[in-house]
């Protein structure tokens, strides 16, 4: 997944970050030697980096939004017109008329929601069994799951396509969802999280006579809510962005997802019809914007979660 899927081998088994320590020392440095830290803070590099990072990301995004609101004359003018001379919505109309954008949206939403739900449930049950239950070959099963991270998606692409076709799942939500629903990264991430739950809490619950199922749903899951939420977000973003798999298993416009639909729009409009294409791009990216703005911290925690011990 570009986040796209966690690259295989992305599990990091050491624990190089200790945020608490660096935060502590940052506080100490602040109170003991304010002048010194001020001196380090000075210097143009930080400012350049801030401006550079903002420009680098914001310019293409703003350019996309502006282009989606420009008339043909504004888009193809020389010298280049930065702001539209008047705002037009025509590009959005054309995007919707040319390809079934609403269908794309429904397909994307349904497959993303289903994949995320399945992966979260399977991630929780897998990690719970591995951490809290005793059964034969536990270590072997753990490595069976983690080692699957080393298999690149490109390598299983062809046989999985054949399987999906044989099951009659081409052009269906099932075909988009099920072959990508196995959980390895999430199981590992939640395994680490569950292991960090203090044993006293587990023992206290057991003394109270809680069932195994109750221990999972009433104690372990509520205590791990931040990690589960982070994993859910990472999974949802990855599935929403996925291109290769839905491109492969859908051949009809009515059954495909937004990113693939965006390229269908380009193919039907012609490569240089930038107005409608940029309108389509805005529509694809729109649902991710709240995550980028408000939940990025969570996503970051999910992605680096395997890093912390």
């Amino acid at each position: 997944m570009t986040v796209t899927t966690e690259p295989p081998g992305a599990v990091r088994l050491d624990a190089p970050t200790s945020r608490s320590r660096s935060e502590l020392s940052a506080i100490r440095a602040g109170s003991d030697a304010p002048k010194v830290s001020k001196k380090v803070r000075q210097g143009p590099a930080g400012l350049f980096a801030i401006i550079g990072a903002l420009v680098l990301t914001v310019v293409p995004v703003v350019w996309m939004v502006l282009a989606s609101l420009k008339s043909r004359n504004d888009l193809y003018s020389r010298p280049l017109r930065i702001l539209p001379s008047k705002l037009v919505w025509n590009n959005y109309h054309r995007a919707f008329n040319e390809v079934p954008f609403l269908r794309f949206f429904i397909n994307s939403f349904a497959t993303t929601a289903a994949t995320t739900a399945i992966k979260v449930v399977l991630g929780v049950t897998t990690a719970y069994a591995l951490v809290f239950l005793r059964f034969p070959a536990r270590r072997l099963i753990f490595w069976f799951i983690v080692a699957s991270l080393m298999v690149p998606f490109e390598v299983v692409l062809i046989p999985n396509y054949v399987t999906t076709a044989r099951l009659g799942w081409l052009d269906s939500w099932l075909g988009i969802v099920i072959p990508t629903a196995g959980v390895a990264f999430g199981a590992f991430l939640l395994h680490q999280t569950f292991r960090a739950i203090p044993t006293e809490i587990i023992e206290a619950a057991e003394i109270d006579g809680i069932s195994r199922w109750g221990l999972m749903t009433k104690v372990v899951v509520p205590m791990s809510r931040p990690a589960i939420a982070a994993f859910a977000l990472v999974t949802a973003v990855a599935k929403w962005n996925d291109y290769l798999w839905p491109r492969l298993v859908t051949s009809r416009a009515s059954s495909t997802t937004l990113p693939v639909g965006l390229t269908l729009l380009r193919d039907s409009e012609g490569v240089n019809e930038w107005g409608p294409i940029m309108a389509g791009a805005v529509l694809v990216i729109l649902p991710i914007i709240p995550i980028l703005l408000f939940a990025q911290r969570r996503v970051v925690d999910g992605l680096t979660g395997g890093v912390k011990g």
Partner: protein, 292 residues
């Protein structure tokens, strides 16, 4: 009694694990083996018959000029993007480490492209690169330069996809480097600053030596990701012009589902798998040695 309890624990564990293990077996391990097997056959994806050809898919891919070009392109693309996003990510991480007004906004901004759909990134940047009506061309005209022919020159097309891919990955490497830098006590940097060490000296003499395991992790994961880069290349250039951006992961798709040469595609996939496996194992080893 005890035995009954244990049995119910086994059953419960089995019920919890079975769906995921089945999915992983059926859609990861079984196809992995199947893919290796297919690389020894000639098959067009549709006909019921597969013809055993031994290792000729491997040798033919190697002899084929396009096959060799694909390998060269993959190396150029991977090395360029890994170097670009690692160096860029480190510089940004070091410069954005100190909390100040705007630094966390800058970090978020930098990380955002990593969360955007590859298809959107590719299409928006393709527009930016338009030699006649793109923003980049306009910027170049402003300083008196003509836009390179990004769309039709194989060399410039490769530069273009590399730039776009680095743009997309930069925030991820930066994030990992920031995490690594945060584990270095800030007093070290402050002491060095008092001693008159400049920005560059602090980066080289203090940050870099402490970042060895982070750096090896960043190098390995970005290499693994770049070898699998598909959507940016597929959407921007379709491997063209003149095979100029044809990489292995694109070629797997193209051979299997456009040219219907499943054997060849599987052979490339097998090579990709082995390369990535070696990189992963070396990386895990390096980290293990660090731990002990």
């Amino acid at each position: 009694m005890v035995r009954a309890r244990r049995r119910s624990e086994y059953l419960f564990a089995g019920a919890l694990l079975a769906p995921n293990l089945l999915l992983l077996f059926w859609f990861t391990y079984r196809p992995l083996v199947e893919s290796l097997r297919l690389s020894l056959y000639r098959w067009d994806l549709i006909s019921p018959q597969k013809v055993w050809v031994g290792f000729s898919n491997y040798t033919e891919s190697w002899r084929d000029p396009v096959g060799r070009k694909t390998i060269v392109n993959t190396l150029i693309f991977s090395i360029t993007t890994v170097a670009g996003s690692t160096v860029g990510g480190l510089l940004f991480a070091f410069a954005l480490l100190k909390k100040r007004r705007g630094s966390s906004a800058a970090r978020s901004a930098l990380f955002s492209p990593y969360l955007m759909p590859g298809a959107v990134v590719a299409i928006v940047w393709y527009f930016m690169f338009d030699p006649r009506f793109g923003l980049l061309a306009a910027g170049l005209r402003l300083i008196g330069l003509d836009s390179p022919n990004w769309y039709n020159s194989p060399g410039w097309a490769m530069v273009m996809v590399c730039i776009v891919y680095i743009w997309k990955q930069l925030g991820y490497t930066c994030l990992l480097f920031i995490a690594g830098l945060q584990s270095i006590p800030p007093e070290l940097f402050e002491a060095a600053a008092i001693d008159g060490a400049g920005w560059w000296a602090r980066l080289r003499r203090i940050a870099l030596p402490s970042l060895r395991s982070t750096t090896s992790f960043v190098l390995a994961t970005s290499f693994i990701a770049s070898m699998q880069a598909f959507d940016v290349i597929y959407v921007m250039t379709q491997g063209g012009p003149l095979d100029g951006t044809r990489t292995m992961s694109f070629q797997i798709f193209d051979e299997a589902f456009v040219r219907f040469r499943v054997g060849r595609a599987s052979a490339i996939a097998a090579v990709l798998f082995v390369v990535l496996l070696v990189v992963t194992l070396v990386q895990v080893r390096i980290l293990d040695r660090k731990d002990s």
